[in-house]
């Protein structure tokens, strides 16, 4: 449970941006696979940006709790992709 809370705290930083992009994908009636690939690209970009800027310091908090940074970003991609597919599915129902 604690691990889940820590992961959600990490995901919270990116969720607003991710949601905006999902809405855009919904409005342009994107298919599922291009949408997931867009999320993959954005996750890799966020990973790169975090590693190459002062944001890297923020990761020390998660490292102190024993989390590997790779696992955080991979988990974020998986959860974010599932949410994206679900939201796109709702768009297609409307």
């Amino acid at each position: 449970m604690k691990h889940l809370l820590i992961f959600f705290h990490f995901y919270k930083t990116y969720i607003a941006w991710s949601f905006i992009i999902t809405l855009l994908l919904g409005f342009v009636d994107s298919h599922y696979i291009p949408a997931v690939l867009t999320k993959l690209f954005l996750t890799v970009f966020a990973w790169y940006l975090t590693n190459e800027t002062a944001s890297k310091r923020k990761l020390t908090f998660y490292k102190n709790l024993g989390f590997s940074i790779q696992s955080l970003f991979i988990s974020m991609f998986v959860l974010d992709s599932l949410l994206t597919v679900f939201i796109l599915f709702l768009f297609k129902l409307l």
Binding site: I6, H9, R57, K58, T60, F61, K63, N64, G66, S68
Partner: protein
């Protein structure tokens, strides 16, 4: 437990920062790293924790080489020089995540009692430092690294942190670095001086003067 840090070489572009480092730490002892500004103390601590990848390094625990970054083992805590707990995190949540009792903290640091539901970003730099140092020291770990734990702290809090270090070292290795050398000397069981990119174990405090880390006759 015995931690050995050996054969570290770190270069930034063409500048050699660390070379031929050796450091040995064991449970029950406080290891201090002293050195002038820019000598590579924080880089060394970052390397031990796993935040920074040097050209070469060899970290052994009880004679067994550890190939993955130490933070991935989950038994190390690191207080860096900067604030590492996110600004938006509520103080009580930070205690929960680190598995440390808020009530115990509040009874030791009375002035902080009202901060339970504050977010970390609302606290002053010194107050954050106290909380972060406390969490790094009190949470379950076998190794704790403290980079400048006494910076920005009021004297009363410095004494409280020194007492905490003394208590916590019974069950863990504590590695500490700070420019407030008098507090470091008080707390340390073993001192290393980082000079000319390498470590020198200090057996006699007068060596700190002969290595020109301190001015002559500063130590009485």
């Amino acid at each position: 437990m015995i931690l050995e840090v050996d054969n570290i070489e770190l270069n930034f572009k063409n500048k050699r920062i660390l070379s031929g480092i050796y450091l040995k730490a064991e449970t029950g002892k406080v290891i201090a790293i002293l050195g002038s500004n820019g000598c590579g103390k924080s880089s060394l601590l970052d390397i031990i924790f796993g935040n920074l990848k040097p050209k070469y390094k060899l970290i052994r625990i009880d004679n067994k080489p550890i190939l993955k970054p130490l933070y991935k083992t989950g038994f190390i805590k690191y207080l860096p020089q900067y604030h590492f707990i996110p600004n938006g995190m509520v103080v009580k949540s930070a205690f929960n995540m680190f598995g440390v009792s808020w009530d115990e903290f509040a009874s030791s640091f009375n002035a902080f009692k009202t901060y339970k539901s504050y977010s970390m970003g609302k606290l002053s730099g010194g107050e954050r430092r106290v909380i972060e140092t406390y969490l790094a020291l009190k949470s379950k770990s076998l190794i704790t690294i403290l980079d400048e734990p006494f910076s920005h702290l009021a004297p009363i809090h410095i004494e409280a942190i020194k007492t905490l270090i003394e208590e916590e070292k019974r069950n863990k290795i504590v590695i500490v670095s700070d420019h407030m050398y008098q507090h470091i000397i008080d707390s340390a069981d073993k001192i290393y001086l980082l000079k000319n990119a390498t470590t020198k174990e200090i057996k006699n405090l007068k060596e700190l003067e002969s290595y020109r880390y301190l001015n002559e006759n500063v130590l009485k």
